[in-house]
């Protein structure tokens, strides 16, 4: 393929205007001995060849009926989401620096920010970040920035890849990271937080529903954290907010999380987006783009990127973050996703998730060789089951049946040996769940 416009006469005219005989002259400034030899990169395919080439590669992937979550989830994506983000006026648009020519992107981001504020109950949202893990890391950097403190407490039940990301982000700093141990019932106890709290703690970061699917008592944990005037950072699944407490209800200072569940495909875990909402007093310290409402010369409402002096293109090394991206198209998907449920529908979506997970849980726990790991705990759409069966064999059998079985947690630590993490979203039908249970019962 060739996506350049080729016209011999035009090219000759351009050469003449520049005063060159051939295009190579334009590269004379590059030393001859530095020039690249002919590259070995296969290509030059037509559209038709590309379709065939990539459908062949695609056939080496397998799409499965998923009972696995752990950070990326198979959820329903309404047709409207696909339609809107498929409009080239959105996906081929640039970052909206020229506000007057970018009102579409700017207004949808403003709407996105408003919707994120609505579900979290917090006052301020940015225009989105890379993903849930980096949003968690950025929240921690924010807390360090505002507090002059140097210790971070992290829940052991935070997604392990989020913990790893945070550690990487702080890799070349002297910030002290303390892990708050998870109790044998799968959640974080107030006393475990209290035991490690001190005046140097900038922030405590807790995930709920946590990595094991359990909804934490955020209210109680937040209370302990606030006594030392540390910031409370909640890592949340936004879909769970239809029924579980909003971060503002337990006085969280910052809420972050993975936005994939709001209208983005799983896509092997990329592309997604991270959201960040915070109390209003933190707005000048937030990372990333923020859209604000204003008026034009005729006093008509319009939208612009604002509070820009926080950002790297102005503040350079004194910026609140080095980020120069918002996952705009995925945030747009979230905006469209959140706009069509109404309160009842959004709550119902969460309830269907919880009910289907409960339905599966109630049946799996009764199977021979399977048992409950964490007793009497409230979970959203994921739960841990202990099993005497070979997890490897179980998942092999499920895979043969085109099912993505639960995630094996055995390697995490001794305590989670022989444990698996199931996920059941609204996408799974009763038939699929019953079939899963039937196969499990026969293993």
């Amino acid at each position: 393929m060739n996506y350049t416009s080729q016209n011999k006469k035009n090219k000759d005219d351009m050469f003449r205007t520049i005063g060159i005989k051939n295009v190579n002259e334009l590269f004379d400034v590059i030393p001859k001995d530095l020039r690249a030899k002919k590259l070995n990169i296969e290509g030059e395919k037509t559209e038709q060849e590309l379709l065939n080439y990539f459908s062949n590669i695609a056939s080496k992937n397998k799409t499965l009926v998923s009972f696995r979550g752990a950070g990326i989830y198979d959820h329903y994506i309404p047709s409207l989401v696909t339609e809107v983000i498929g409009r080239s006026e959105f996906w081929t648009a640039y970052t909206p620096y020229q506000a007057e020519a970018s009102q579409g992107t700017l207004q949808t981001i403003f709407e996105y920010q408003s919707l994120i504020c609505a579900i979290t109950g917090l006052d301020t949202s940015n225009a989105s970040l890379y993903d849930g893990a980096t949003a968690a890391a950025e929240a921690i950097l924010l807390s360090l920035r505002v507090s002059n403190r140097n210790t971070i407490l992290i829940s052991q039940a935070l997604h392990p890849e989020y913990i790893q990301t945070i550690k990487t982000y702080l890799g070349n700093s002297n910030v002290k990271i303390v892990i708050i141990n998870v109790s044998p019932n799968g959640s974080i106890k107030e006393s475990s937080v209290e035991a490690v709290m001190n005046d140097d703690v900038a922030a405590v970061i807790i995930q709920s529903p946590n990595y094991f699917g359990i909804v934490e008592d955020m209210h109680a944990l937040s209370y302990v954290v606030k006594r030392k005037k540390s910031l409370f950072i909640a890592v949340i699944n936004p879909l769970s907010l239809g029924i579980f407490q909003a971060p503002s209800e337990y006085n969280a200072d910052i809420a972050v999380g993975e936005g994939q569940v709001l209208g983005s495909h799983m896509g092997f875990g990329g592309v997604t987006f991270g959201f960040m909402a915070a109390k209003k007093e933190l707005k000048w310290k937030m990372p990333g783009r923020i859209v604000g409402q204003t008026v034009d010369k005729n006093n008509e409402r319009g939208f612009v990127l604002t509070l820009q002096s926080r950002e790297q293109h102005i503040r350079r090394e004194k910026a609140t973050s080095n980020i120069c991206t918002n996952a705009s198209l995925n945030a747009l998907a979230a905006c469209v996703f959140l706009s069509g449920w109404g309160d009842y529908g959004f709550k119902n979506l969460a309830e269907v998730n919880m009910s289907k997970a409960r339905y599966a849980f109630d049946r799996i726990k009764l199977l021979d060789g399977f048992s409950i790991k964490f007793e009497n705990k409230i979970f959203f759409n994921e739960f841990v089951i202990k099993t005497q069966k070979s997890i490897k064999r179980m998942n092999e059998v499920l895979l043969k049946n085109n099912i993505l079985g639960p995630l094996d947690l055995s390697d995490m630590n001794e305590f989670l040996k022989n444990c698996v993490l199931f996920c059941v979203t609204e996408q799974r039908t009763k038939l699929e769940i019953d079939n899963l249970i039937k196969i499990l019962s026969e293993i």
């Binding site: 809107v84 970052t95 120069c324 309160d343």
Partner: protein, 477 residues
Amino acid sequence: MEKLLNELPSSDIPAYNIKSDVGIDVKIPESLRRNLALGLPSIAESDLLRHFTNLSRENYALSTGFYPLGSCTMKYNPLINERISKNEAFTLIHPYQPIESVQGTLEIMYEFGRDLCELTGMDYFSLQQAAGAHGEFAGLLMIAEYFKSVNQVRTKIIVPDSAHGTNPSSAFFAGFDIVHLESEVDGSISPRKLKEILTKEVAAIMLTVPNTLGVFEKSILEISKIVHENGSLLYYDGANLNALMGIVRPGDMGFDIMHINLHKTFAAPHGGGGPGSGPVGVKAFLEPFLPIPRIEKNKYSEFVLNYKKSESIGRLKAFFGNFLIILRSYIYIKALGAEGLKNVSERAVLNANYMLARFKNRINVPAGDRCMHEFVLSLKLLLKNNIRTLDVSKRLLDYGFYAPTIYFPLIVEEAMMIEPTETESKEMLDDFIDVLIKIIFEEAVLEPQKLNEAPINMNIKRLNEVEAARKPILRWK
């Protein structure tokens, strides 16, 4: 103007609905239950479709016009990339699927990394980073780890004053102190000035080649020699790699480590601000420090994920990188091949030089008569008419053009940075040039007030950014 979502007609039956075929079984203790009202809009699908369609029409986009955006490289995004990347075998894949069920995805990422190595002269690439600045951050953390591994204390990064803001910012967040290097009038580096600040504390210098004024760094080999003799590393900001494909490779110029922005060089869509992808390439000696997991090919020609890298900086995000963006760029490479990629750079440089040739005798060009893929004009001559580059850029909107990048690089007064890219025709370039010349040499003289007030033909007039920041309204009431 289009209403806000919360002002649209409310419908008792909203657009989306879901049913449970297992009933509803939800018991939540009071202490965990949400009491706060959600306040989400409840709108019919037809009204939502019109709302978002109307908003899309308030956007300038590549599919509607020309983006002459210097440094941002808004080149055409081929449609076949979109079509293939919507294949369910790519979109409906869970990141924790068994490795044997994602061989197609891993093959693409592996082969894409190999092609990037060939194109850049690097030995290994990591694709995990979600954007260019994320790549810079990863690269700088790797530099820090490298010096720790050889027991050297090097705490400083040199950044030229013509660099992108992300350079000093990424270096700061990676734990370094920034040393600023004053660049020459054309944005190039003086080896003499570099030597003066190149102490044993310097870990690396970050360079953009061609630089942000569109000039190839002619002293690059001398710079490379000086830097390496000092034991420091040379970092390549790949923002402008699109000028050099198949012509010269960063690895051959002496760079040790680099990042690429996939939307700039490899036609991944910009999406109105993202998502992006920022692969990081290194020479072999830095391979141990790359983020984990690494995608490797084993002796049975299967693709595997290797987490066992004890010296790695760790991971930069959850999962494996923005695969659906990477896929689009890989399709682009397979559409073009080695010759096609070289043609892209040649054509981008030709287009830029043609535009420059038409401007250079009339408007101040601080970096001289020739450029690579972009060039910078200084519109300081208009200050005497009380017209700023901002005014000119807003007036361009009235003529149906997006405005070039303005006030960057910082070293050029009243900068206007133009990058045509390879995918624009001569006719389009001529139209733009004619309009810009008309604005600068006719309107600015005869009707300066028009420029100060621009845009005047758009649906929305010039927006008040000062009030937006002084009294921030960041959500609807």
